[in-house]
């Protein structure tokens, strides 16, 4: 049993080039300042990845940071963040996933796993109760991730496995790391980093257990957190329909990506494709470690072309990206998800790059000769075939495997169809249809264009108007909701104007990003029922009960903010320019549902956001004062 409380107590570092490994003890100061998960990753990568390296070279470092509360009974504490320099964006690449990998890694004795170098031949790692071995993976190389898992699970029963499929081996720039059969650290191409290291899989099994500082304290705070989450208005809908819930209101606001963001929402999506399809195709729910929501569905296709397909699926981001973004039938999105998992590709990115290719085909910029077959939105067979070509880097697939940003540069006029921010494909939300804290987050996200690192915890899905231009979104709740929001009073008063019933987007964005970064540090899920109710106060209580390290809610938020700033500094060091924080031209120039974005006004909110963050208003460079406040002044 580990001596430290809450934490497993060690970071395991392995260099695949020479097979050296070492174990670094966690220092309490490091824990307080970076907490765990993305915090650990931000610090380790900023310190150790040399500036300007090729993300697919042995110099890149891949870090698995387990959230602090993972391995405990605290509700939804299951999440592990994986980070490296991204081969897709060239910036900080990072992605978060739950299930049971993190719990196993901590039970095996490690809070984080750092992978350096490159193995000469394909290998996999086996980590068990403090021991590490590097094993030959020649027989696994080339196999899809489900075949690989079938073999490894038989050989290592009760183990959890992180692995890559053929897309990762083929260095597809948006390849993901699979987390078991149905989950993944999907975004920003971390699977290609693993592939570049000749690392096929990481098999983890642990029996050591984690000792809480206070069992009584942990149970008390767990009970409180459960009650809070259960009392969220988002709780019941999420239990029933999972993340597909968001497709309903966003569809009716014409704020769903449709046919490469050329329309606000496909006609059949709003009514037919969100809840009704969940009811038709799914049965049973699946949970991550210690979750009390179980938002994931078990899907079974009972008739038609894809009959017999059974898997965990219908998570909103991939389903909308394929179904609405590429116009596929719902049944075909399940097939696409199966292929995405087997090949190990980020479904949001592959759907994004395919949607661009279809549009370029329609615009006559790429031809049947380039592809080998015709492409059109809604042609399930052609889209699945193209997906296959991308994973194998065949024909046009080899170009598209480079990701939307790079592929667009290969075609004259391609940029106009390339829907990405900073090289990361924008998945499901169309900011034109609904402007909010959530959609500004696509622009300010430290990993590039997606909506998953910034969501107003009290977002009100009933409303879709901007009362005051681009700076405010509607609050729309009663005073009770205002009062129960766990946010410092002064900041709350600044962020929410009760009289005019508005939320200040710039102020709320900074809070939401730091809050989500805190969740990704302590390993708690960002699903709305959780983000809505769980704030720094209860997390501080949980953190202290579990680890014994006394920390205040403000310090927790500051640790999360520190990691966010560190990542921003990393991105600036790697060449991010102020003008990269821009939406694709289409969002400013073409309207959906009668709306487009006003570029000047978006820039204005962005500048306000920079100011709120203590960053330079024009360049987004973290300011001296902010860095001093966070103890990062030696880095500017």
């Amino acid at each position: 049993m580990s001596k430290s409380r809450g934490y497993a107590g060690q970071i395991l570092e392995v260099n695949l080039s020479n097979r050296d490994s070492k174990r670094n003890e966690l220092a309490t100061k490091f824990c307080r300042e970076y907490l765990g998960g993305i915090g650990f990753n931000a610090k380790l990568i900023s310190d150790e990845v040399p500036a300007g390296i090729d993300a697919l070279s042995p110099e890149n470092i891949l870090v698995f940071g387990v959230g602090t509360m993972v391995g405990s009974i605290f509700p939804t504490a299951s999440r592990t963040e994986v980070s490296a320099k991204s081969p897709l964006t060239g910036l900080f690449g990072t992605s978060n996933s739950g299930m049971f990998f993190g719990t196993q890694l901590k039970n095996a004795g490690f809070d984080a796993l750092v992978i350096k170098g490159r193995a000469e031949k394909p290998v996999y790692l086996f980590i068990e109760d403090g021991e590490l071995s590097v094993q030959d993976a020649s027989r696994l190389w080339g196999k899809d991730s489900w075949e690989t898992l079938d073999i490894l699970r038989k050989q290592y029963p009760a183990a959890e496995v992180a692995l890559i499929g053929p897309a990762g081996e083929n260095l597809v720039r948006f390849a993901c790391i699979e987390n078991g059969y149905y989950d993944a650290w999907a975004r920003t191409g971390l699977g290609a980093v693993m592939g570049s290291k000749n690392l096929k899989a990481i098999v983890v099994r642990g029996t050591q257990g984690i000792t809480p500082h206070s069992v009584e304290g942990l149970l008390k705070v767990t009970g409180k957190a459960r009650q809070l989450i259960e009392s969220s208005p988002f709780f019941k809908p999420f239990k029933s329909y999972g993340s597909m819930n968001a497709a309903m209101p966003y569809g009716s606001f014409k704020a769903l990506n449709a046919n490469n963001f050329s329309q606000g929402c496909l006609p059949d999506w709003k009514e037919d494709f969100a809840r009704p399809k969940v009811e038709e195709l799914t049965h049973g729910h699946i949970a991550c470690q210690s979750c009390i929501i179980a938002c994931a569905h078990w899907v079974e296709i009972k008739a038609g072309k894809y009959q017999g397909l059974r898997m965990k699926d219908m998570e909103v981001t991939p389903t909308v990206s394929f179904g609405s973004g590429c116009g596929m039938s719902l049944e075909a999105t399940v097939k696409a998800a199966e292929m995405g998992q087997r090949y190990g590709m980020d479904m949001a990115s592959v759907a994004g790059v395919m949607a661009m290719a279809i549009e370029l085909f329609n615009r006559g910029i790429i031809s049947q000769e380039d592809v080998g077959y015709d492409l059109s939105f809604g042609d399930d067979d052609a889209i699945l075939r193209l997906m296959d070509d991308i994973a194998r880097r065949q024909g046009l697939g080899a170009v598209l495997a480079e990701g939307t940003m790079r592929a667009a540069q290969q075609f004259a006029g391609g940029e106009a169809s390339a829907m990405h921010v900073k090289g990361l494909e924008i998945p499901m939300i169309d900011p034109r249809g609904r402007w909010s804290t959530w959609s500004l987050g696509i622009l300010t996200n430290i990993r590039g264009g997606d909506h998953l690192r910034c969501r107003n915890p009290i977002e009100n899905l009933r409303f879709n108007e901007n009362k005051h231009d681009f700076q405010k979104e509607r609050f729309g709740y009663d005073r009770k909701m205002y009062e129960s929001l766990d946010m410092p009073d002064e900041l709350k008063a600044q962020a929410i104007d009760l009289e005019n019933d508005t939320v200040d987007i710039a102020i709320m964005s900074r809070w939401a990003e730091d809050l989500i970064n805190l969740f990704n540090s302590v390993g708690v899920c960002i699903r709305p029922p959780v983000e809505h109710r769980i704030g720094p106060t209860i997390l501080a209580e949980a953190y202290t009960a579990f680890t014994g390290i006394k920390i205040s809610p403000i310090e927790l938020m500051q640790s999360a903010e520190r990691a966010w700033n560190l990542i921003k500094l990393f991105n600036l060091r790697e060449g991010e320019l102020p003008e990269d924080s821009k939406f694709p031209r289409r969002f400013y120039e073409e309207a959906v549902g009668g709306k487009n974005l006003d570029e000047a006004k978006v820039q204005e909110v962005l500048q306000q956001y920079y100011q709120v963050r203590g960053w330079d208003m024009l360049t987004g460079q973290p300011g001296e004062e902010k860095l001093r406040e966070l103890g990062l002044s030696n880095l500017s």
């Binding site: 049993m1 391995g71 405990s72 009974i73 049971f100 719990t103 039970n107 489900w146 079938d150 078991g180 059969y181 149905y182 029996t207 050591q208 257990g209 984690i210 000792t211 809480p212 069992v215 942990l218 149970l219 459960r226 049973g284 729910h285 699946i286 949970a287 991550c288 470690q289 210690s290 979750c291 009390i292 179980a294 078990w298 059974r310 898997m311 965990k312």
Partner: protein, 159 residues
């Protein structure tokens, strides 16, 4: 009526909260490995099944125990380990046909479900209804009603 841990695996979502609470209340540790209830899962097939002690009428673990450390309390019906007597020979672990009886390497002792002396925490913390602590007759009655409902679905009542 004697209560028992009734498992309805159709309701289990595999969150393993039961494993966490069990190891916490028994060992003061979050250690699925030391839990008295375990989730057996198969992701390809899509099932999660909680496995706990059946409190057998003729317990194999009791039969094989050479020192009488494993015993069945006739009054309560509970099969439990007397830690003072246990010699850590793991015979009970090998004998249990369900993979339930287990061994704690840190203590060198066998362990198994003791139904938390009448208030099983796994049932209390299970939010899905997959694990409940109730009289088997009541639970079976419920299942019979559900079966009857399925059989008669779509039929006009005969009365």
């Amino acid at each position: 009526m004697n209560k028992m841990l009734v498992i309805d695996y159709h309701k289990c979502v595999g969150c393993k909260t039961c494993e966490m609470i069990c190891s916490l209340v028994h060992e003061g540790v979050c250690a699925p490995n030391l839990s008295r209830i375990r989730i057996a899962k198969d992701e390809r097939a899509g099932w999660n099944v909680p496995i706990s002690c059946a409190m057998c009428e003729k317990p194999m673990c009791v039969t094989v125990c050479p020192v009488g450390a494993m015993f069945r309390n006739r009054e309560t019906g509970l099969v439990t380990v007397d830690e003072k007597r246990c010699i850590g020979c793991r015979q009970c672990v090998q004998a249990c046909p369900f993979g339930h009886a287990n061994f704690n390497p840190l203590k060198g002792l066998a362990f198994k479900c003791d139904q938390c002396d009448g208030d099983p925490q796994c049932a209390k913390f299970c939010w899905t209804g997959a694990i409940s602590f109730e009289a088997i007759e009541l639970s079976l009655n419920q299942r019979r009603l559900e079966t009857a409902e399925k059989i008669t679905r779509g039929q006009t009542p005969s009365y």
